[in-house]
């Protein structure tokens, strides 16, 4: 056979073997990374790692957790915002990064709405209102009454200016009609000693972190900040039930991907994570963190993000909270 014929035959055969443009290689074909924009061992990190492990099983490819802490979650979120939208970079983030951050910091490097596609609302966690043991109140209504009778006496601790702990307390104050002094700390754990000794009056803390001190009698539990009671303390009423009707403050945890990621990948992730959320093992892990699984469609998550963003931006404006 002539060399040219051989060459033509080979090329012809090869063109049949090559995948056509419409036929993409099945995703995923290499490991994924899940960026956690907070330091290790925090709630978001533990949640992220558990999710990553289960997701690896579902997808058949390892999902590696990468911690990229700093600036309240902004550094890690920004990194994902600028990452390639090929479905291999995921972000697990919270109300702080996507609903509060944008309203608080006009100079934020990423645009929470435009740079990301919400995938799924993974979980919801709520806070508990705890009070100093020497404060003569046993529930939310009494607290409000005491605050009104003694203006200027109540102060509240927080994990920093602009954090959800701070804004929750501001919302509480404005809805209850009381003025309180804000005392910021570098983390709710650091508020505890001063709360126990009575120098700080109240604190909105993560349920799981606060429970030991409540059970040990070092601080008093007044109410749950969420819409529903927490299964960890079923006897404790919500703040809405016990003194400030309509008060709700929750934190959402969800997965995001960079904007531009193909919709079928987003749907696939959403489907797999929803399935993980139904497993008892995962639900147990969430319960340990004081969080409840949510799930649902990407649109449901997007709607929640919008609602929360609007709510907190109003609180921020009304309370005059500024970072600069």
């Amino acid at each position: 056979m002539k060399p040219a014929t051989v060459l033509a035959a080979v090329l012809l055969a090869a063109s049949f073997a090559m995948p056509t443009a419409a036929q993409m290689p099945a995703w995923p074909t290499k490991p994924l990374r899940l960026v956690v924009p907070f330091p290790p061992a925090g709630a978001t990190d533990i949640l992220g790692r558990t999710l990553a492990q289960k997701l690896s099983e579902a997808l058949g490819q390892p999902v590696v957790v990468e911690n990229k802490p700093g600036a309240g979650g902004a550094i890690g979120s920004d990194m994902v915002a600028k990452a390639a939208p090929d479905g291999y970079t995921l972000l697990i983030a919270t109300t702080s990064t996507h609903s509060i951050g944008p309203s608080l910091n006009p100079k934020l490097a990423y645009n929470a709405e435009k740079d990301f596609v919400p995938v799924v609302w993974v979980a919801n966690s709520t806070n508990i209102l705890v009070a100093a043991p020497n404060l003569p109140v046993t529930n939310t209504a009494e607290l409000v009454a005491y605050a009104k009778a003694n203006p200027g006496k109540i102060n509240y601790g927080s994990s920093g200016n602009g954090t959800i702990v701070h804004l929750t307390a501001e919302l509480f104050g404005s809805m209850a009609g009381i003025r309180m002094t804000h005392v910021p700390y570098k983390g709710t754990a650091l508020v505890m000693p001063d709360l126990m000794s009575g120098q700080v009056s109240i604190l909105f803390d993560n349920i799981v972190s606060a429970m030991p001190s409540v059970k040990g009698g070092k601080v008093k539990a007044l109410g749950i900040s969420g819409a529903k009671r927490s299964p960890l303390v079923p006897d404790l009423p919500t703040i809405a039930e016990s003194g400030v009707p309509g008060f709700v403050s929750d934190t959402y945890f969800g997965v995001f991907v960079p904007a531009g990621t193909p919709p079928d990948i987003v749907l696939r992730l959403n489907r797999d994570i929803n399935r993980i959320l139904e497993s008892t093992e995962f639900r147990d892990k969430l319960a340990v963190l004081g969080a409840e699984p949510v799930g649902g469609t990407p649109e449901k998550f997007a709607a929640e993000i919008r609602t929360e963003t609007a709510k907190w931006s109003k609180v921020i404006k009304d309370a005059g909270v500024k970072l600069e």
């Binding site: 061992a41 902004a74 200027g152 200016n161 754990a189 505890m192 030991p212």
Partner: protein
Amino acid sequence: MELLANLGTGFSVALTLPNLLYCFSGVLLGTLIGVLPGIGPVPTIAMLLPITYALPPVSALIMLAGIYYGAQYGGSTTAILVNLPGEASSVVTCLDGYQMARQGRAGTALAVAAIGSFIAGTFATLLVAAFAPPLAEVALKFGPAEYFSLMVLGLIAAVVLASGSLVKAIGMIVLGLLLGIIGTDVNSGLQRYSFGIPELSDGIGFVVVAMGLFGFAEIIINLENTEKREVFTNKVSGIWIKWKDLKEALPAMLRGTGIGSVLGILPGGGALLGAFASYTVEKKIAKDPSRFGKGAIQGVAGPEAANNAGAQTSFIPLLTLGIPPNAVMALMVGAMTIHSIQPGPQVMTNNPQLFWGLIVSMWIGNVMLVVLNLPLIGIWVKLLQVPYRLLYPAILLFCCIGVYSLQNNVFDVLMTAGFGLLGWIFVKLECEPAPLLLGFILGPMMEENLRRALLLSRGDFTVFATRPISAVMLGIAIIMLIVIVAPSIRKKREEAFHE
């Protein structure tokens, strides 16, 4: 004797073969990690967290705790051998420990550190076992006003750290205070001195500053002075410690143990104050203070004992109140949470095996540390004899990786280089970096607590004098100030007189 019964429970948990192995691997890993500059217990524990999730809770905690104080000790090794403090508290060990190494007494310095740490660890463990709850109550008495006064006391004591010019030392402290302010202001959320760079919004890491000022600068200076360097790599006098040295060091070790145990209980940075405080005390009560900074053995023995004692007693706020006093403890809380254990007042009653098993294994870990490290001293000393031209690039490499591993950010490595330059300038101008580091650590805490105390007292300044503990500390601080400044003024007057 309830204590003995409890200790018995603890031993039965800690002495099982698996737990002994976990303890050993934790301590070994911790030592190695501590020796590698930059990578400290925080990034290590963070990197190993996934593994500990798979272990039973007591074992996981035993291993994590082992890593924690293993790293404390390893940090001292690098401080002595190559002037690189891996941990905040190892900075003080650099001052005299490294000088001892340069005089060929590295073995003695390392041995003193090991033995001092062991004595301190034993005593502190007993303290934790017997007095955890009441000590925790003492810690609760410390509010912002007390912390502020403590920091003021600490800063004035920092002046004692320097051996040279008083004005320069104060200047370095103030500069450290300013550097510490970089980042987000807790009380207002405002970003200060961060130029809009997100990586600076949480401030500069201690390791970054220390690595640059102490480590990099030292390497550069060594490379410039090729003649002086040969002296200490060739002359190594013995790897064991002489009885005479031990006798000299022992009182310092005991004093350091006391100081460190007390300061370690305070959540919010009490542990590292211990090493600084011990150094100050030793220098002040020494018959010949000029020895300090040139290889005084008490300058290693005291602070080393103090920081190990502090490391042990810093478990108290964690185990009794559920309050993690530092980043490492916060990681351990995370590890406990994963296993559905809530640290706090009921851990002792609900989970006695965990509590006492952990405490006993802390002591066993100390034993293992001594057994592990004393023979290792020989290896370390041999390492010092590797020709410097091969050693320093490796040190640079480990520093870079170590700094990176803190936040997985190369920006930190670039900043360390910047501090290397600054450190070089300081050496040229004869400005000492140790007071700067102390100011760097204490400054932001001092300001935070000052403003918080005033916030809580609604602007009332007298709160610092009316609260008893605070008043006492401020009183001591004023006395120290007079004691420090008075001889200087007298000297200046004499100098002026002679001119």
